[in-house]
Amino acid sequence: MFLAIKEIWYEKLRYSLVMALIFLVSYLLIILTGLSSGLANLNKSAVNEWGAKTIVLDKDSEGRLAQSFLSNQTIKSTNGTALSQYSSIVKSKKGLKENSTIIAVPKNSFVYNNLIVLNGKNFTSNGTALVSDIFKKNGFKIGDTLYLNNSTVKLRIVGFTPHATLSATPVVYTSFTTIRPLNRGTINAILTVKSKIRQPKNAMVLSVEQFINKLPGYSAQKTTFNFMIGFLYIIIFIVISIFLYILTIQKLPNYGVLKAQGIPTKFLTLNTVSQSLIISIIGVLAAILLGFATTILIPSEVPIVINAFNIVSTSIGVILMSLFGSIIPIYQIAKVDPYKVIGG
């Protein structure tokens, strides 16, 4: 630690430049990780709120809720909560518009009971709806009537619920009867709380995780983000490696002499490890602070989630990469033969 701090202090410019680089890359990591979780949430958060373990869909549906039309036979032979969905643009009298997914579930089913009510109450009578709090952010109020495109069906908002988005659209929860004119009573899925159920004829059984992964675009998006994030980690590893490698090469004769003077190798390698830790910790801390500032400053439509998990995983990732980055320099120090470098 002594050598590490003295050297950083002496070579302020060099070290600040690497720290700045690590800071910028870590910031990018935090933003990308945050966006990745944010977009993933937009796609799936409603599904998580339902509290189901398995989902039964039509066997030809490819796992897509909208493409799944369950037969009466399947519905009768499966124990669980039926669910219907219908996508539509909803409007208010004042001209507010929202592209949304309407979901119908039975009252007092486990799904119904799992819905959190932020304001107002859950839907009860036909024609009432519990809607995503995104409606509230966008200016809708309890008591507002929602009009559906190309239909006479009307819904009255009676409450708001959080985490209610599916495939990046806010969800409107209502009764089957309310949307019967729209979907003619189609049941798209049956949800159960059992982790394993017998597969009904002409149906497919998916775990909730499998169902989420099959949401349109979900996996592709995740993979893209993971690829970029992985790349950034590799960049951090390479940057730290090269930086410490060059600095170590320059100091090799000094390390040789220090070894000749009896300074243990461990003391010298710890110096390099501490430096790489100092660089990465300062870089990542600054990035986290800027990340928080960013979420406060950017418009709320940008779905960046900076939560404890993202912060901890990014920090651990960056610090691990920087530790890996000090492996080559450590090896150089360990193998330098004092006699070779002192020469003369």
Binding site: F2, K6, A260, P264, P338
Partner: protein
């Protein structure tokens, strides 16, 4: 009593056509209280001799004993510990850590070894070497001679039994180098150190107790001041 003994030491570099015998059958002994000068032309094997004495290299054959212990049989860690506790090295270059001030060069030693010179003793040492005013300076702010004197102070700081110095006066003027030699001689005589100074600076010969010469890897005693 400290003593360093070489018996029939050979050092051969390379093999086949690039085979080079750097040290030939060297017998040598140094005891507490002696300031020994090793002289010889460039490339004759002086540094090779000194690094073998300090356990930085192992001889191809023969035996080196320090305080009656064969140092060639020690493992790397034991050798490092031996150098830290018993030997003060002054090498030909790179003696100082570039990013540490003169004062911090000594702090660094304190991090790995206890019982070094006290603050007062250090000040006295720096005073004797005429570098006390340079404490806050960094190596790149020092002249070659100043660096060399800091390196000497650094080697003496741990109060080692053995001081092995490679051309410690190369960058010093006549006055300064005899000053350094006077200090080393005092350490040898009053504090009972073994001091071996490698040099091709014949100006130093008046200060030595014994002078050895190495020519083409062969060592011989050429003078002894009794």
């Amino acid at each position: 009593m400290s003593n360093l003994v070489f018996s029939s030491v050979n050092k051969i570099f390379g093999s086949g056509s690039s085979r080079y015998v750097a040290l030939k059958n060297i017998d040598f002994e140094a005891n507490s209280g002696e300031l020994i000068l090793v002289v010889g032309p460039s490339g004759s094997g002086k540094t090779t001799f000194l690094t073998i004495a300090g356990g930085l290299q192992t001889p191809t054959s023969g035996n080196v004993k320090l305080n009656n212990k064969t140092i060639t049989k020690l493992n790397k860690r034991e050798q490092t510990q031996l150098r830290l506790h018993k030997i003060g090295f002054v090498l030909q270059s790179y003696n100082l850590v570039p990013f540490l001030s003169v004062k911090e060069q000594f702090d660094l030693v304190d991090k790995v070894k206890k019982n070094n010179a006290s603050a007062q003793e250090l000040d006295q040492l720096l005073e004797d070497l005429d570098i006390v005013s340079l404490k806050e300076k960094y190596p790149n702010q020092l002249s070659g001679g100043q660096k060399q004197r800091v390196a000497i102070a650094r080697a003496l700081y741990t109060d080692p039994e053995y001081i092995l110095a490679d051309e410690p006066t190369a960058a010093l003027d006549t006055e300064r180098s005899s000053e350094v030699m006077r200090l080393l001689k005092e350490l040898a005589h009053k504090r009972n150190k073994v001091i071996i100074v490698v040099t091709h600076d014949m100006r130093l010969k008046n200060n030595a107790d014994k002078i050895y010469q190495i020519i083409d890897g062969k060592m011989s005693l050429i003078s002894e001041n009794l």
